[in-house]
Amino acid sequence: MKKEPDQTTLTQWIDGELVGEELQRVETWAQNHPELLAERDAIQAMNQSIRATIPASIEPPYGDFFNERILRHIESEQLTQAPTLAPKRRIWQWLMIPTAAAGMAFCFYVGTRVAEPTSITSPANIVVSSIYTPDGDVSADIFRAEGAGATVIVLKGLTDIPDDLEMVGNPATDSSNGASMASISTSY
């Protein structure tokens, strides 16, 4: 061998991977270059130290938990994927939007129909046919004032209102829904 072996050939020689003629050539070259032999010995010793020092296998801490975590991760990913259901779910999602909107509109319509005040429920138009009075000595007469749009109930047989009864405030009126209501607070 006239030429110095290249680095890949030298690497193979140091690692004992060379065979045949190529090995012979490098060995011949090395005989005339003792520094090469020294380098090989040094590298082999260094490799030996590395093998003796650095473990090829280190059991990870908490080995069982290590495995458990991997399996749990895989299982959770498998659950979230559920590949065959995904397209169907998408179709349902598309159908759900107009269905929900239509449902809401229907409910709103029904709600407005139910809550709408009618002439029947207007207090002014209530036709009172009878009145229950818990006290048997008290009777009630009903008068319908069509012009005023009011019904007057006259109670008879009530005890006199005491003189010290203090009428507080003014009649409060509530004109919502077209009805008129009055209330007075009393206190003794």
Binding site: Q7, T8, L10, T11, Q12, I14, D15, E17, A42, I43, M46, N47, Q48, S49, I50, R51, A52, T53, I54, P55, A56, S57, I58, E59, P60, P61, G63, D64, F66, N67, E68, R69, I70, L71, H73, I74, E75
Partner: protein, 218 residues
């Protein structure tokens, strides 16, 4: 849940090549059975594969990132990726080589991310062995006599420091070749390089290691 065999295992330098080949074939056939079962969806078979290979994968990743917590997470990530890619595994390579290839990708992705987060510069502290807690369960343990243990610890520190002084590419080929005992072809498959590149890297990595370990030799 299956558990691992032993805490640490040195690379086998004593067995004869024939014995090692037979052992390797047994391991490969056992792997092939479990891989086939796992490919059919058997999680227990995959669990057995994890238990069997986690030591080597964890050691390799730990020696690359030099941080036990990160190594723990990255090893798990490697196995999860292995499970996902398992249907594509065709048994042309050894299962362990294939796992090392996945681990290589996981580690390099992590290193790239760290570089980006570190504003374009790799944080050399990551590879500083002095940052590793000597009492950490991932540190090699020895039960040698005190004087021998001290020498061994010194040597261990020197070698770890020297390995930390290498680039990731150089450190990786040294670990795969000297610690894991893989051949050039397997290393080329794992690192995604040609065999020529692997040998070239080994050459320069050894030169660099020598210059760190024996600075007066140059």
């Amino acid at each position: 849940m299956a558990s691992g065999s032993k805490n640490t295992q040195k690379s086998d330098g004593n067995g004869s090549p024939d014995n090692r080949r037979i052992k390797s074939n047994d391991i490969a056939s056992e792997d092939a059975i479990w891989v086939a079962e796992a490919q059919a969806g058997d999680m227990r078979a995959f669990d057995r594969l994890v238990s069997k290979h986690r030591g080597k994968i964890y050691a390799m990743i730990f020696n690359m990132v030099k941080n036990d917590a990160d190594a723990w997470d990255l090893s798990q990530e490697a196995f999860i990726k292995a499970w996902k890619a398992l249907p594509k595994f065709e048994s042309r390579a050894r299962f362990s080589t294939w796992l090392f290839r996945i681990s290589h990708n996981v580690v390099y992705d992590w290193l790239r991310k760290r570089r980006i987060e570190g504003d374009g510069e790799l944080n050399d502290e990551v590879f500083d062995t002095s940052r590793v807690d000597p009492g950490a369960s991932t540190m090699p343990h020895h039960n040698a006599p005190p004087d021998e243990a001290m020498q061994q610890n010194e040597l261990c520190e020197e070698i770890n420091a020297a390995l930390a002084g290498l680039s990731e590419g150089h450190r990786e080929v040294i670990l795969l070749r000297e610690v894991q005992g893989l051949d050039y072809k397997e290393i080329a498959e794992i690192t995604g390089n040609t065999i020529g590149t692997v040998m070239s890297r080994l050459h320069y990595a050894r030169k660099k290691l020598q210059s760190i370990l024996r600075p007066d030799a140059d």
